[in-house]
Symmetry: C2
Subunit: 193 residues, 2 copies
């Protein structure tokens, strides 16, 4: 009925995709494994045959989400081959599009907030994935010919991270509405030096 993911895919894939969606919408601690398996059209035993624990499932979801995000970078390269500055502007554009009205923020950042135990197994994965994203943006800024590429990349990172969390507390009409203006202003300012 309302499932949508039940089709002829393997249970493991359905669980992974459903869990990603539900973790994103309702938060990690807001979703139980029972609810995930039911929405995925399967059952708890099958989940535990493929994932040794809920924590393991969380980690796999984060990896899958990061992999999806990484694919977007390929689109930038495909749309503007070799033109790194255009790709940087495309990044700003894409980022602003993710700030839609019902934005629930970055899954990795949200997970870091929810999983407050410093020794939670997902934390090191989050750190790794976030650092990889950071290096990508730094490289893009550098290849776009910007001086102080690290500083620009870090500033843009914080702006986006802040916009995504700000949306959840004050909504889309808050400070995050000005994200494109801020980001483009920063890029212009850094390029002028």
């Amino acid at each position: 009925m309302t499932d949508g993911v039940v089709e002829r895919t393997r249970p493991r894939d359905r669980i992974l995709e459903t869990a990603q969606d539900m973790f994103h919408k309702h938060g990690i601690k807001g979703v139980g494994v029972d609810a995930i398996t039911e929405a995925a059209g399967t059952n708890k035993m099958t989940l535990y045959r493929h994932f040794e624990s809920k924590d393991e499932l969380i980690i796999e979801c984060l990896r899958a989400t990061a992999a999806k995000a990484a694919r977007i970078w390929d689109e930038f390269e495909a749309a503007h081959p070799g033109d790194k500055l255009a790709q940087l502007h495309a990044w700003v554009q894409k980022a602003s599009e993710m700030l839609s009205a019902d934005c629930r923020g970055c899954d990795m950042a949200n997970a870091a907030v929810e999983l407050s135990e410093t020794d939670h197994p997902a934390r090191r994965v989050i750190k790794e994935l976030k650092e990889a994203q950071r290096e990508k943006l730094v490289a893009l800024c550098r290849d776009a010919g910007v001086g102080q590429a690290e500083l620009l990349a870090d500033t843009l990172s914080l702006l986006l991270e802040g916009a995504r969390v700000s949306m959840q507390s004050v909504g889309a009409e808050g400070p995050s509405a000005q994200f494109v203006r801020m980001a483009e202003g920063l890029i212009a300012s850094f390029r002028a030096r």
Copy 2:
């Protein structure tokens, strides 16, 4: 023994203070009312005589935290009476000090992430408190003689919000380490126009 808040204060005050601390450290969904009352040196019945539900306690905690934050603004005025630009720099300084190694971020933003249900009673409170903070920063920027005060205030807001969530995912050595440089650069840039 390890309590520290037990003293001769009223149970309601001890519960409120303890709950603020524990919600901040472990997250809202990561702390049960039993744990709060035990740490506060009281019991569950007393909690429910003073707060009609956990949600109500959450809201009171957020209000108390916001009230504490508001008091910091008075310190700025006391330290630099009438000098709004100096107060703005003091804000940057104070903000960066909050980005210490074990920073757990903004309680309101964290709550917004954790309480994903859009109709949760705490959500409207979070929005109100965050909007009040925003207006304060806008007024400070304007009174400091900055053109486009709203844009500067919103940019600084997003930067800080981003820095606080970034700390939780990648740690203090990540992008948030450059917060002061970014903020001061922005202020200088806006003032130059």
